[in-house]
Structures are given as C-alpha cells and as structure tokens.
Symmetry: C2
Subunit: 311 residues, 2 copies
Amino acid sequence: MRYCFGVDVGGTTVKLGFFDEEGNLLEKWEIPTRTEDNGKHILPDVAASILDKMKEREVSREDIVGVGIDAPGPIDAKGTVYVAVNLGWGTFSLKNELQSLLNLPVEAGNDANVAALGEMWKGGGQGYSNVVVVTLGTGVGGGIIVDGKILSGATGSGGEIGHIHVMDSETEPCNCGNCGCLEQYTSATGIVRLAKRRLAEDDKSSVLRECANISAKTVFDAVKDGDELAIEVAERFGQILGKALAGIAAVVNPEIFVIGGGVSKAGPILLDYIQKNYMQAAFTGARGALFSLATLGNDAGIYGAAKLVLD
Amino acid sequence: MRYCFGVDVGGTTVKLGFFDEEGNLLEKWEIPTRTEDNGKHILPDVAASILDKMKEREVSREDIVGVGIDAPGPIDAKGTVYVAVNLGWGTFSLKNELQSLLNLPVEAGNDANVAALGEMWKGGGQGYSNVVVVTLGTGVGGGIIVDGKILSGATGSGGEIGHIHVMDSETEPCNCGNCGCLEQYTSATGIVRLAKRRLAEDDKSSVLRECANISAKTVFDAVKDGDELAIEVAERFGQILGKALAGIAAVVNPEIFVIGGGVSKAGPILLDYIQKNYMQAAFTGARGALFSLATLGNDAGIYGAAKLVLD
C-alpha cells in the first residue's frame, strides 16, 4: 500500500491529511498559516510538517504517491497561482515550488475546485463524474468537474460561479466590484440581505423581526417553523439560485449538483427551494440533473487535494 | 501521409470532407440526407459515399485514420445519440453503427460542439485550447472547448447556451417551451424581434420602418449607417448577449469567444457591441477573454469532425 498527502491552505490554518491510495483518511491535523512576509513561510511550513509526519510514520519517499495542495486564488491546471491576495502570494508555480521543497510529485489547484473534486470522490457527488459543486458560505464558490477532472479554465477562474450576474437592478456593489452577482443573494450574507430587504418592504409579522442578528440559519429555522415571510425569502433565494444553476447546466450539463458551505446546514429543505426553481428554468436536456448536499464539510479540501495527486 | 474523413449530417444535406492528417481539406462534397424511414438510410449512404471516395482515390483502410461525424441532437462523448428529431433518429450509438458499416475507427459528436472544435482547430479560435463558440443563426447554439476537447456533458447537452434563461419578464415561449431564453433575443429571428418591439415602443424615425422584411442584416446595415433606433437595438442585443457570455465565462473561463452563424456576417461591429457589455458584467478573472469572428462558415462541421478522429 502506498500513501499520499492532501493539503488545504486557508487564510488562517493549513489543513493536512494523510491518506492511503484508496482514499482512506488515516490522520488529519492543522498548522497555522503564516501570511507574513508575503506568505513566504507557508510552503516551507507545509513541507516541514509533511516530512515530520513521514518520519513519525516511518514511510519513505518511495511509499508516497505525492502531495496534492490547494489554496484560495486562481490556480490553473499546471499548478500556477495567479495572485492569492489572502496569503500574500503573487504569481508563481505552486506545484514546482512545493515539489522542489519536498522532492515528491505535487499537484495543485484552487481551493473551491479541489473541494469540489473531493465531494465528487468521497462526498455528495460520489459515483458521478460530471458534477457541479456550489459552496454557499460567506461568499458563493463553485467547482466544475467534467469527466472526473477539475475545469480550471484559461487562468484558473473556472467555477467562479458566485460572480455570475443575476440582477440588473442592483445598486450595491459586490466584493468583486460588479453589481448584481449571484453571491450577493445566495451566500450566507446574501440571504440575510434578502431577508432584511423583505422585512423593510412592509409590516408583515415574522419571527425574524425579533432577531437581533438575523443569519441564514435563523431564516431557514423560521422556514421550518412555517414563518410566511421567511418562506418568501427562501423562495426568492431559490428562484435566483435555481435559475443561475439552470444557466450553468445549459453550459456544462452535469449529472448532479452538490450544495455545500455553511448555508447547506439548513438541510434537505434547501434543496427543495433550489430544485423546484431549477426545473422551471432548465433546458429540457438538463432537467435530469440530480441535487444532493455536500457531506465532507471542512475535509473536502484535503480529500480533493489527495485525489489530485492520485489521478 | 494518412487521411481521414469529416462528416457533417444536416437536416437536408450531408457534407463530407476528405482531409490529410495535418488538417488540409483535400476535397469536399455533399449528398442528400434521406430522413424517411426514421433516417435509417443516412448512415449506409454516408458509408457508401466514403467507400466510393476511397476507391476513387485509391486509398486503403490502412491509409485512413478514421471517420469523424456530427449530427444535430444531443450526442455524448462516447458517441451515443439521445434522439435527433430532425433526422428521425432515436437513441443509439452513432459511433458503433457507422464503425460497423465501415470497419474504420469512428468518433461522433453534436453538430454545434463539433463545429466549435473545427473553429478552434482551423478557424477563429486557432491557437487556443479553451474556447467558447457562439453560433447566432436561426437559433443560438454553442460549443465549449476545454483543453482542446469538446465539453459534451452528462447527456450530450453541453454548450446548449441558447437556452440560458436571461429574461424574467418574457411571456412568449421559446421553441424549447421555456420563456426568456437567450436565443429569443440574440438569434437572427431574436434580433428581428428586438427591432420590432423597439419600433412598437414609440414613433422614433428609423430606416427600419420602411423595411417590408426586417432581418438581422437590415438591422446591422442600419447600425452602420448611423440609424439611432437600430443602434439602440444593437445595444440591447449586446447587453443581453454580453451579460450571458460573462456568466458563461464565470463557469468555464475561456481564452477566447468565437462568434459565428449567419448574424456574424455583420462583421467586427457585432463584436464591439458584445464585448463592451461583456466587460461590464464579467468577473475580473475573466476579463482577459478575447473575441473573434468564426471563419470556417459551413465547413466548420467537417473540420471539427475530422479533428475528432485525429485526436
């Protein structure tokens, strides 16, 4: 049996996983992400942690298939990063740099894309090879898997579905600078925004009026309790997201959509709102697409990173 | 030097091309498409025409790399057709059936996708491998090329971009049954529709008012003559298409968009209207995408079909 490592570099911690080549996660741990000095310590820290683990477990380089790594930022299929603002990184070959530190084969990808690969392999998309993963968190991320491989795009921006324009009438800007991006309505903060806008429209009663801090969770909890105004908000959310996913399906025709991120903790009810509206907008040839919830949570990145190097 | 055939099956004629393996088109010809009897004569006719040509040119099976073929309808990466209404075909393996008639390797794909591959190889997308081809004809078709390969999708509906939902307020149905599809505004007939709607809005003068039969060509001819109302129509067309392409770019992040089909005869002015609006809606990471016009016209299909089997 041979082994591999999956490494998920985040803005505050780096998650590492030690896997056997069948994809069983044997151990996972974290180290801090040192973003000072333009992030120049990050890869040496990762390399040191991996070499320590190999020593501890008494495995040699020959036993290791390689190391997969992801990071937040556009990264193309060759493992080149095009500026990762959160880490202080500029443009360089993440693949080559970690490879030369470790003297092991390395593959690299964007964090959302790699997490999508993980969900295809061992999570909500298991058994499928044409998968769209939609991550509804602070923002909206995505990953497009075509024939079992990540669609990275020309400059590593494949799957940036949070920035699909969905609303002409929007006047507040998105973090990206445009107005009316998908993520402005369907991320955790976007759902709160939809709720606040709905509350401001009239005086309709709602448990949400009593919340000091409305969150996506309080909105969907209220939906489950039958709160009419919250149901209207969920419906609006489902319309916007369902329609956007129908557009994505007309481009890539996936077998399954996997919905993840913090918002997905609302559970299967979330899929009902998305899927109903998807079916209304989807092209006939794409209506067979399935919907599921992500299952790997924060481990999706290390699973996907491992899969990158096992492929 | 070895050779191959590229075959483009349309609703009325089948176009055939004889290529050398470097992609030089040595000869092209057409045969009628016999759609009677559920299209059962089409493939035997194609096979007979190819075998005749091999005899005429005195080339043996060993000299032939294979035969690429496309047809109108969803066809997946394995060469399975999922119902081709215009040809009378049900669901079957186009690849296997032609292969057994010819005793030669065969590859098959959807006509719009295969034409896109042709434009990437020898047309407006030459030199690139991540290409989105947009065909503005009677309808709006498309083809997505990722790393030099067609994105066929789970059931052969990849690249069906004409059916992306772009207009919530639409009440007239598209041919597909939905309301508000991209093709309702940006196909040749869609542009005429935009023009007629604009003319009905008020009494603003325009040369288009004197046209007995407005066409996409008369609209863009009027644009070139500085007709203000026609320019408003072109602007509306550009807004709708530019925004939709920005959405596509957020999914697949192409290097270049290639615009083809009858409408593209309007020339570079068409790209101006599309690109300006694309840039306003596109995610920062996708703004570097280039725009060009398709150059292969009706030969795109046979070129793409040849490329299918040479890959």
